[in-house]
């Protein structure tokens, strides 16, 4: 049986762990609200852009712009978005597992696969694998803003136009609700007109002209998509951390309860044993 002191030390240790998990949960909850608001306020822009883009693309020849042109795919690039930090349940593991499956599938189908990573967890993971990330963006989630989406967007557009790859996929956690994230994989390039948006009827007058407007719009569309994925992932991470830390705090509480029980039982046993000793000793003295 473990000694009293030993149990006491263990309880203290679990208690301080619980303090940390509770604090982390609280911090995540507070940040989550802001992250959710950001997704909501970024939506109108993305939706309007999708609507405009769809009506524009219908009227043009797809070969006219390199970002629309469908090449025969041989090289595929995957952008993996994870968090910078752990302690958020299966959030990162889900993404990384899906990434490996994707890479294996595409390789078996005869494609060459390259990757880029966003987030420290993805970088550390692929550092130990046989596939070296072409580009890495880490530690951006603390100060996430549109400039990050623009930077990543411009990088991949440049590479795509140079024909370093023929298709580009984006792998990230989509924010479904506070409790739930969904692993999403979107094809970003070549640009496919979004399906589920209302179509605008009638034609427009373009200024300077259709091609120029399209050339301006398409890169912005890619940037906006990347930015949206980053926001989703950021909110998802906080949601996942909140849930994970809540569970951890509860488990810690349960452990403390059980150990306290053992502690009290042991303490009682010790007292009883001491009493017996005293009583036994007194009996012996009197007898003698």
């Amino acid at each position: 049986m473990p000694s009293l002191q030993h149990i006491r030390r263990k309880i203290t240790s679990v208690k301080s762990t619980q303090k940390i998990t509770k604090a982390m949960k609280m911090v995540a909850a507070a940040k989550l609200k802001r992250a959710q608001d950001r997704i909501l306020s970024a939506r109108p822009y993305a939706q309007k852009m999708a609507t405009v883009l769809k009506s524009l693309i219908r009227g043009v020849n797809r070969d006219q712009h390199p970002l629309l042109h469908r090449r025969k795919a041989r090289k595929i690039e995957l952008i993996v978005i994870t968090a910078d930090r752990g302690l958020c349940g299966a959030f990162n593991a889900n993404i990384l597992r899906r990434a490996q499956d994707f890479i294996r599938e595409k390789r078996e189908a005869g494609f060459k696969v390259g990757i880029s990573v966003v987030g420290r967890k993805a970088r550390d993971f692929f550092r130990r694998r046989d596939i070296a990330p072409r580009q890495m963006w880490v530690q951006i989630f603390d100060r996430l803003n549109y400039a990050h989406g623009a930077e990543i967007g411009q990088d991949i557009i440049g590479r795509y136009i140079e024909e370093k790859f023929d298709e580009l996929y984006l792998l990230y956690n989509e924010f479904k609700s506070v409790m739930q994230q969904r692993v999403a994989i979107d094809k970003l390039l070549p640009i496919e007109p979004p399906e589920a948006v209302e179509t605008v009827t009638g034609s427009y007058l373009y200024e300077p002209d259709e091609t120029a407007v399209l050339a301006r719009l398409l890169p912005k569309y890619v940037e906006a998509q990347v930015f949206r994925a980053l926001l989703e992932s950021a909110a998802g991470e906080l949601g996942a951390r909140m849930t994970a830390m809540d569970a951890a705090s509860r488990n810690a509480g349960e452990m403390i309860r059980k150990m306290t029980l053992v502690y009290n039982k042991t303490r009682q046993a010790v007292i009883t044993k001491e009493l017996m000793d005293i009583v036994g000793g007194a009996e012996a003295m009197r007898g003698g």
Binding site: A42, Y45, K48, Y146, Y204, L205, E207, P208
Partner: protein
């Protein structure tokens, strides 16, 4: 007097304006243009500039940098990469930005791209200053 039109201005970060207005004047890449209700369908890219809109007799100003506008008879939608209301512009910061941009231009080594980027910075900073001062 023509009726009002729905004016939406969205940036990647937020929906900045969404209300019925009487008139919008925006900096198109081919020149400034005004929109009243019943305008023909029209789409244009925007340059860095000042965007104004009127509700009744009150004009409001915004600085916008890059983007495009979609005009329909009953609505105008502006998607701008950066947009700020005149009253939100922080003047001392805008002035500092102008100085930094000027220094950058002076310090460029004459490479074309560098120069163009620095110029854009300066243009943006000057615009913010101009719009901010008019509030």
């Amino acid at each position: 007097m023509p009726g009002q039109i729905q004016f939406d201005l969205a940036t990647p970060e937020r929906l900045l304006v969404s209300e019925p207005v009487d008139e919008v004047i925006a900096p198109g890449s081919e020149g400034e243009f005004g929109v009243l209700a019943g305008h023909c369908r029209f789409m244009t890219t925007l340059r860095i500039g000042e965007l104004r809109y009127r509700k009744g007799t009150e004009w409001k100003r915004l600085s916008v940098s890059w983007g495009y506008a979609e005009v329909e008879p009953q609505r105008i939608t502006v998607l701008a990469e950066i947009a700020e209301r005149a009253e939100e512009i922080d003047l001392p910061r805008a002035e500092a930005a102008v100085k930094t941009a000027e220094q950058q231009i002076a310090a460029t080594t004459g490479k074309h791209e560098e120069m163009a980027a620095a110029r854009r910075q300066l243009e943006k900073a000057l615009l913010r200053l101009k719009v901010g001062k008019k509030r």
